[in-house]
Structures are given as structure tokens and as C-alpha cells.
Symmetry: C2
Subunit: 185 residues, 2 copies
């Protein structure tokens, strides 16, 4: 599988990858263990600090690892990984090491202990900054403290979950800059 060569980019720009709504792979680590989960319920929340809100249901093996380590990496996969993304979402890290099972490459992160996934297009190192809504809504607010992505392509073919086993693949780009006021871009 292709491993993307990434470079750092400003954390205030992570919305470029998250706002279109791709399914992401969240990697985590705790006490020698590591895991990956597939996640579709997330939203950008702020540019600076760079905040992302994620719903991580308590039944997931990753829920405890992220709750305890207070860290994770949000990795953005592209369509080539689609079958693996689906399979990762349909098995539990309590039973298998998903990096080994799916032949994914764990890369050491710079600011968190959770590993980056080399085969994903973008990787966002995150620290938990607000868990107030965790118990009631499984909602975690993370700050992206380090962001990695290749310089090109600018618009990767991400996959977007529609429910019921169906995904949407990112389609064509539409430039509507002419309708924007400069401060609104």
C-alpha cells in the first residue's frame, strides 16, 4: 500500500481536510497497546486554537484508551483504503492489533504517543482539551497540536459515510471564490 510522504502544515488549516466530512481513522495508544477506530461523527470547532469535536461511543475499545491517554491522532484515509476503513470499523481492538492485521504502518508522532498511520493522506496529532460532554454524549473536544499532509494533491479523494454500508467518494471541485468577501474565505 502507498505510504504518503507528509510535511507539516499549519494546524489552523485542518478544516481543509475535515470540513468536507470524510470518514477518519483515529489511532490511539495506552500502556503498550495501540488501536485504530473508524469514525464519521466529527466537526471542526475553531481555527485557533485548532479544535475538533468527535463522538466516540463508549462501546469502542478506543474510548478507554483515548479517555486515559487524553490523546489521539485523526488520520484521513483516501478511497484506496476504503475496504480497510470498513473492516477496521467492523472488528474490535480488544481482540486484534489492527496495525498488524491490516498491514498499516505506525509512525512515531511528534507531540503525542498515539501513532500516525503512514498509509493515510493526512494525520492530525490531537490532545483532549474538554471532556465535559463525554459522559452524556460521548463527545470529546480535541486540540490539533501538529498536522501532517502531503503538499499534493490538494484535494484527496476522501470517502464519506452515508450509512447502511454505503460510502460517497469525494467528487469534482467547484470554485465559488467570486462570491466570497475576502474575510469569509
Amino acid at each position: 500500500m502507498k505510504r504518503y510522504k507528509k510535511r507539516d502544515f499549519p494546524v489552523s488549516e485542518v478544516r481543509r481536510f475535515l470540513e468536507p466530512g470524510p470518514v477518519v481513522l483515529v489511532s490511539s495508544a495506552w500502556k503498550g497497546g495501540r488501536n485504530i477506530m473508524t469514525l464519521g461523527w466529527h466537526t471542526a470547532m475553531e481555527f485557533t486554537p485548532s479544535l475538533v469535536g468527535c463522538v466516540i461511543a463508549s462501546g469502542n475499545h478506543s474510548y478507554d484508551m483515548i479517555s486515559r491517554s487524553k490523546e489521539c491522532v485523526i488520520n484521513v484515509p483516501t478511497v484506496e483504503l476504503a475496504p480497510i476503513v470498513a473492516k477496521i470499523g467492523n472488528c474490535s481492538g480488544a481482540a486484534v492489533d489492527k496495525f498488524a492485521k491490516f498491514k498499516l504502518t505506525a509512525v512515531v508522532a511528534s507531540a503525542v504517543k498515539a501513532p500516525l498511520i503512514a498509509e493515510c493522506f493526512a494525520s492530525l496529532e490531537c490532545r483532549l482539551v474538554d471532556g465535559r460532554l463525554r459522559d452524556k454524549y460521548n463527545f470529546f473536544i480535541f486540540e490539533v497540536v501538529k498536522a501532517h499532509a502531503p503538499a499534493a494533491p490538494k484535494y484527496p479523494k476522501t470517502i464519506h459515510y452515508r450509512g447502511d454500508g454505503m460510502f460517497m467518494v469525494a467528487g469534482r471541485s467547484l470554485n465559488l471564490r467570486r462570491f466570497f468577501r475576502p474575510g469569509m474565505l
Copy 2:
């Protein structure tokens, strides 16, 4: 402009439209006024009750209307409306009636006072259920109490914001049901 003929569908299924991450038009009403805002920062949060979290920055005219009325309608537009979606996001409801300016049809909702937008594909009537994170993060948690969409097409051509005036148009569908355990669909 085409007005979609909608029928009710179960509120537990709204993720079908929201989870892929489309830009939405949020309509609101308060004391004889009404407004529409363009919004890209939202996430599904729960199936039952059907919860959606949205970031609505306090600078928006809609922020006060939604804070006061504790209601809104989340409308999902398709690519035909893209220029209007961009324009709605680049003017203020404090200065103009956006329904009139953009020739959009306000339809009376059944559970909230905010109007549905007939030209949007899906319309989700929402009540504010948790505003605890509003002051700190501009984050509103809504319950979808009534949902409307046409029976077909099943997968509308939604638009997804990439930042910098660029949108992504929903592309092809990918069926990965074969990788799902029944309970995970």
C-alpha cells in the same frame, strides 16, 4: 428554481444526509424576523434521540435568533443551489431578508416556528436541547424532531466546503456492505 416535494422520514435516519459532511442552510425565526445562514461545522451525535451538534459563531445574525427561539431548521442544499449557498454565507441577515433576496420559498414547519426552505433537498426541524458549550465554543446541540426529504434520489448531489472558496461536489457511491457486520450498518 426547483422545489423539492418532501415526505417525512424517521428522525433516527438523518445521519444519511448529515454524516457525509454537506454544507447546510440553517433557517431560523424570532419575533416576526427570519434568517438563513450557511454552515459547515456540524456533526451527528446520536440516533435516538436524533442529535446534531452545530458550531454557530456568535457574530452571525442567526446566533441570537436561534439562542432566543431555541429552534432552527437544518436544510440540506444540492449543487444547483451552490452559488446561492455561497452568497447566503457572504451577507448578513441584519441587512437583508435572505428568503426575499435569493427568491427562496419559506414553508411552514410542523414542530418549530423556523421555516423550511422548499428549494433544499432535505429539511430537519430542530430544537435546542443543550447549550452548555455555547458560550465557550459556540456549540449548540439540537434534537431533530421532524425530518423531511424526497424519496428519490437516495443520494443527492450535496456540496462540501473545503475552505478558501472551494467546494467539493458529492461523487460516486461505493457499496462496502459486504465488510459490515449486521449490527454495524
